[in-house]
């Protein structure tokens, strides 16, 4: 059984995820779309905070909201005029999209409902992962420790920096 405040928080987060993600793909102005994406990402970060993963929520806000959305806004302003509306969708294109999304919804929702025993697990007790345990898990080489993917990602980020400069520089 959860407290009333926790339930209210849950509904706020869930409703804002649903509403803002629908608005992200249905609005016709691209800059608004990026703004709604920002709100969706904030709601996801709030979800992580609610599930007791504070570090993950902070990373979500710093990397997604602070990095990726800024990059999106920057490139939108570079490539299109502000206030420009995309033209109305051709109806067959729209129906293909709706059909594919509904098919995914039905298949995945059916799978969820058929595993209802698993899906009705209630929230178990957990002590929040402290920075100390997260750091030890990230920097260790034992089992359930992640030094190798950490280093692989640092190499990937380096390659990404160099690739970005090479691709986007003026010739």
């Amino acid at each position: 059984m959860e407290s009333a405040g926790s339930i209210i928080m849950y509904w706020i987060i869930a409703l804002s995820i649903v509403i803002f993600s629908v608005l992200t793909v249905t609005t016709r102005r691209i800059l608004r779309s990026a703004t709604f994406l920002l709100f969706t990402l904030f709601a996801a970060a709030a979800l992580y905070f609610k599930l007791d993963y504070e570090f993950l929520g902070a990373v979500q806000i710093a990397v997604y909201a602070g990095g990726i959305v800024v990059l999106f806004v920057f490139s939108i302003l570079l490539t299109s005029h502000p206030g420009h509306k995309s033209e109305r969708l051709v109806s067959h294109r729209k129906w293909i999209g709706v059909l594919a999304a509904l098919a995914a919804l039905v298949v995945t929702g059916g799978a969820l409902i058929s595993r209802c025993g698993l899906a009705c697990a209630s929230l178990p007790e957990m002590s929040n992962p402290t920075m100390k345990t997260i750091g030890a898990a990230m920097m260790g080489t034992g089992s359930e420790q992640y030094l190798l993917p950490f280093e692989a990602i640092s190499v990937l980020l380096l390659a990404c920096i160099i690739g970005g400069v090479v691709v986007a520089r003026k010739r």
């Binding site: 979800l47 990059l71 999304a101 992962p129």
Partner: protein, 103 residues
């Protein structure tokens, strides 16, 4: 009222379906990339929620999400570099107009 696992999976499923819809219907490349981010984020939520509800003692799902966020950032940066390059060559970024690698 008890908030169980499925209460978290349903919003993430709706978010994923919105991403599919946007990816298939948008023509602007940046809008498609935004839809892709929606889908990625829905998957991240699923990892964290399964980790929290089914295996609260371990942190695999959390670390997977952490690394997925880092990779998503790298991927977005490269994709936007490519899109800006296409814009410089063609003066627009509709997917249907960008059909040639060289011109």
């Amino acid at each position: 009222m008890d908030i169980t696992l499925i209460y978290y999976l349903v919003p993430s499923l709706i978010m994923f379906c919105c991403g599919i819809y946007g990816f298939l219907t948008r023509k602007n490349m940046i809008a498609m990339l935004i839809s892709l981010e929606l889908m990625l984020n829905a998957i991240d939520i699923n990892f964290v929620v399964f980790n929290r509800f089914l295996y609260p003692g371990s942190m695999e799902g959390m670390f997977f999400t952490l690394f997925a966020i880092a990779i998503a950032a790298a991927e977005t940066a490269i994709a936007i570099a490519i899109i800006i390059n296409i814009f410089r060559a063609d003066k627009n970024i509709n997917v249907e107009d960008a059909s040639q690698m060289k011109n």
